[in-house]
Symmetry: C2
Subunit: 315 residues, 2 copies
Amino acid sequence: MTVGPEPRPNSGGATSRVPSGLESFLNTRRRLVDEALARAFVTPVGPAARLHEAMEYSLKAGGKRIRPILVIAAAEACGAPAERVLPAALAMEFLHTYSLIHDDLPCMDNDDLRRGKPTNHKVYGETIAVLAGDGLQAEAFRLMAENGRVTGVSPAAAVEAALLFAEAAGPRGMVGGQAVDWMAEGREVGESDVVFIHAHKTGALIRAAVVCGGILGGATSGQRVALEVYGERLGLLFQIVDDILNVEGDTMAMGKATGSDQVRKKATFPAVAGLPAAKRRAESLLGEARAALLPFGAMGGPLGDLAEYVLTRKS
Amino acid sequence: MTVGPEPRPNSGGATSRVPSGLESFLNTRRRLVDEALARAFVTPVGPAARLHEAMEYSLKAGGKRIRPILVIAAAEACGAPAERVLPAALAMEFLHTYSLIHDDLPCMDNDDLRRGKPTNHKVYGETIAVLAGDGLQAEAFRLMAENGRVTGVSPAAAVEAALLFAEAAGPRGMVGGQAVDWMAEGREVGESDVVFIHAHKTGALIRAAVVCGGILGGATSGQRVALEVYGERLGLLFQIVDDILNVEGDTMAMGKATGSDQVRKKATFPAVAGLPAAKRRAESLLGEARAALLPFGAMGGPLGDLAEYVLTRKS
């Protein structure tokens, strides 16, 4: 399997070359997530209505919901029902959405478009966009705490998952990656810098989604180690594919300007290692992610398919 | 007891008219908090060192540590040792500090000075300041999760405290208050708007500090209700005094430009109700806060003294 070089339709469809069976898996889980999201956001009222509206705008701007689906898939691989991890699944999407809003701010990437729609600050102004991001982060942690009230989840497991989630979100995780990414802009960086940035900026939350799903789903210690390896490889894979798509994808499919990383001299894998090496690296990461799932047997099928989907996605 | 009209020294001292006994109480608790802070921040290294440095800069810029001391005082009123609630105490200071950094941003209040020092974005630039705030919020929630690992605290209590903390931090708490405050700027607002803004922007976290201290300190349900009332009154008192100081205080004592609320037409109590009414309201809130503490008997002494300190502080 290779990424990208063959001709592909210009339709913006994200489901091309989805492993058989995965499409219905994705659709049912995505529906669960979207229904839970709808329940979490009733029509905002009160003096702060505009803030809630801004938060909702970005949450519902049409993401692929990969992180929440990973939480669910990891829990299901451990034999737990999706319902047990819905608050954690939403928490991942809330945190991811806040990071996108802040990432798009004028003082960061200064992007006008996200998922094909005007960015939050373009619609609500910079101040409300900062606060909407702040509010989404707080709500993400509220949801993580709510795990402790879900039937079948022990408070101790909820505490452990919340700790892991906070590590992944903070300065030793996602925020640290964003800071280093920003500081690296326009400077010469090596492959080790790129790995650091990717592992922290994107990888930490992907890995946390998988491992938190496992913890809350009652993973054995062996299953947890397997999920840690899988999640780490998947996180790096995810970002490398994103870099490749930024070089090769088209604006319609990505919902944002492509080639923008090159213009900004962003630290990316294709930039430091070249496109062919980046693609080889992605292939081998998929193999490692799949290998990590062996202890799960057939139960790990959807997680393996998800990794393949991450590699072959077009947006 | 009245606030402010009599002549007072221009020394910037924050300890004038501190109730007898409170000064040593404050000093020992503040030392506990500062030592825990120092342990939480070892010299930052690695690619994200500048981000950690920016976080540390604002954390150590010399706050009065009132929120963490409230956590400790509430736990102690319930008979628990300070050590049991140190992570929660730090969490309050981390969250408060993040809110100050974001509040000072050019797109918010655009302040150059905070606690007499250059604001975070003046030293580290806007991008790192946004990320330092984001990182401090994540760390605050990590610390709240860490409560669940403290000896003597049940994971269930840690989950409950984290939920309450997240509510107070998010769009239905502090962030909601900040959004409404910002939207109200320059517009005509009534007393009910000011109460909403104060109760959310400042009050929510003050109340959360008190109630979380109680939950983690093993409060009975009666004690918890008492702390909720005390915390709510104290939060409003705190902000009204801040408003009064903004009108009457001097720049040296406050560490920021005074009178700035008037220039910006900020929604404040003195602005909507007049200075004398604001002072009467503050006095009656102190009375209500003290009354709420009756079930604690002598154990509630420091909390009562803290409320008086909040009313009589000069900065």
